[in-house]
């Protein structure tokens, strides 16, 4: 088994979800965090895109360094929010 799918009900844009995965009878524990970030605008012009990219780069760079970025997730069309999945760093990271 490579992945576990966890349906999360009632989470809306701007909310943060944290999930702890523990493998029983072992020391394996992973903590995941799904966080939404509001981007400056959703315009389609090149300057709008640059603003959005700069903002996204900045927030990822300045995010809590004890978490590593796993994935920028699919966004809803014209949404102001981008959803990012992080994983808590372990001693091995």
């Amino acid at each position: 088994m490579r992945s576990i799918c966890i349906p999360v009900k009632g989470i809306s844009e701007g909310d943060i979800a944290e999930v702890e995965v523990r493998v029983l009878k072992s020391d394996l524990v992973w903590k995941y965090r799904l966080e939404s970030f509001k981007l400056p605008n959703t315009g389609k012009s090149p300057s709008d895109t640059i603003k959005r990219i700069d903002s996204l780069r900045k927030l990822i760079k300045e995010y809590d360094q004890s978490w590593e970025l796993i994935q920028i997730l699919d966004t809803i069309e014209a949404s102001e929010y981008v959803h990012i999945l992080y994983r808590k760093k372990t001693k091995n990271d």
């Binding site: 088994m1 895109t49 970025l69 994935q71 966004t75 999945l85």
Partner: protein, 230 residues
């Protein structure tokens, strides 16, 4: 192995210009395994198509094995692609009318490899991906995992130095997905450079480096593990 400088790709319709890639600077070393991630429509496949010489950039430069290839004609791109780059697609892209053996043999026919050498190399790669027992079957008679193993055999039979994989486990269940990732990792351990587009963070973790794309821009690069030299 490959390097891009300010690589940009725009698609233009009558009313709208869409920027698929914007000023992408990327370098991939020989023997490296690089994963490219990002939301749908962020430019991952466009990037892979340009790296594979299936498409050309609107602006910017692309060096493959030291040769600037971004402005080459279709004919020259095809010549460079042949034998240098292997492709693995999400939907396998096998030819339904050909048997497993003949699907894998096809790139060698295009390259003008002799009959005896073709037979030796096809059988060798079919053994390598553990699908020899199905070589007389047609793609529709195989499971998704088996079809992808055939597609990988076809990609590597010409011994390319570079494999480009677009969501190679996207149509597979977890067990078959694991097998395909093991195969790709083994090929990389044997020296093949791999650039793989994926939505799966588990698959991406197999790479040396993970690149995150968003709206056609590289947002971050994360080194997962050191590359072994030699």
């Amino acid at each position: 192995m490959l390097r891009t400088e300010e690589l940009t790709k725009t698609f233009r319709s009558e009313e709208v210009e869409t920027i698929a890639l914007s000023k992408v600077n990327l370098a991939v070393e020989e023997g490296e395994f690089v994963s490219v991630m990002g939301p749908s429509g962020c430019g991952k496949t466009t990037l892979l198509n340009i790296l594979g010489l299936l498409d050309s950039p609107t602006q910017g430069k692309y060096w493959l094995n030291g040769i600037e290839v971004s402005r080459l004609s279709e004919l020259k791109r095809t010549r460079i692609r042949r034998g240098n780059i292997g492709f693995v697609f999400q939907s396998f892209n096998l030819i339904e009318e050909l048997s497993v053996y003949h699907n894998v043999e096809l790139p060698l026919l295009y390259m003008g490899v002799s009959s005896g050498e073709r037979k030796r190399r096809v059988n060798e790669v079919l053994d390598q991906v553990k699908i020899s027992h199905r070589k007389k079957n047609f793609p529709r008679q195989l499971s998704g995992g088996q079809q992808q193993r055939v597609a990988i055999a076809r990609a590597v039979v010409s011994r390319p130095k570079l494999i480009l994989a677009d969501e190679p486990t996207g149509n597979l269940d977890s067990v078959n997905g694991e097998e395909i990732m093991s195969l790709l990792t083994q090929l990389n351990n044997d020296g093949t450079t791999i650039v793989m587009v994926t939505h799966s963070s588990a698959d991406a973790d197999k790479a040396h480096r993970i690149i995150q794309l968003f709206d056609g821009h590289i947002i971050t690069e994360r080194i997962k593990k050191a590359m072994q030299i030699g």
